[in-house]
Amino acid sequence: MEIKVTTRTLDNKAHAVEVQGEIDVYTSPRVKETINELIDQGHYNMVINLEGVRYIDSTGLGVLIGALKKVREKDGKIVLICTNPQIKKIFNITGLIKIFDIYKDEEEAIGSFVGAA
């Protein structure tokens, strides 16, 4: 089972993290490592793109929550891009839909950073 995690800098200086594959107990450490590297480098604003994610479990949700907690301590922000109804359903069931801002595309996600630190 493969997972691909790539990062790039966006126009607004936030960082995009694009994840492709399935995020579970085996692959989530790879996602966590990438996000933590960005945080360690002082990048506290991120757009995490889950459009290429076919599956996510509670381990993956834990990684996202952990990252959000860390960046908020630095007045940063993490927003998600996700339109997959199955993935969004999991955010709904767990109540995380109230904690994460979820957008349908990158343009909308970047727009949410207007006025952010």
Partner: protein, 156 residues
């Protein structure tokens, strides 16, 4: 008639995806809808992760998919001491006014590692969830039950 499909995998994270693949194939064979199949995949994966969590020693996961015309039972058993035991699950069935479930992490984002979000998800997705531990044999067994819709006809 009841049929059983069994799978035994090493208790390592990289094999959880294999169990997920198996339930996806079986759910397709049993004509579950796409949404139901996704629910089953998530429930099975969460259960395997639950059994693997907190175990440092080598274990095996034995998975039995037992199905008849009316019910699918998935029994996932870990075969080594130290597996997480049975625990009372927090009641997450009460829904908020807006139809969502209160976040297990809360608004404060305090990550409570003792709170088993995974099994709570399973409980929400399945018709029935049983968790048993046998201290003598050091095994833990989680049984997930999903009833078929009454109108549905099933392969078997």
């Amino acid at each position: 008639m009841t049929d059983v499909v069994s799978l035994k995998v090493p208790g390592q994270p990289q094999y959880v995806g294999l169990v997920r693949l198996a339930i996806a194939g079986l759910a397709n064979h049993l004509d579950f809808t796409f949404d139901d199949t996704e629910d089953l995949k998530l429930a099975v994966t969460e259960t395997c992760s639950h059994l693997l969590r907190g175990t440092a020693r080598s274990i095996e996961l034995c998975v039995d998919f037992q199905f008849s015309m009316t019910v699918l039972e998935i029994r996932i058993k870990s075969t080594a001491p130290g597996s997480p035991g049975s625990r009372s699950l927090p009641d997450r069935r009460g829904e908020a006014a807006d139809g969502t479930t209160p976040s297990p992490w809360g608004e404060s984002l305090e990550l409570d590692t003792d709170l088993d979000v995974g099994l709570s998800l399973v409980e929400a997705l399945m018709d029935k969830l049983d968790v048993e531990t046998n201290e003598d044999t050091g095994t833990a067994c989680v049984t997930l039950t999903r009833y078929f819709p009454l109108s549905g006809s099933r392969a078997g």
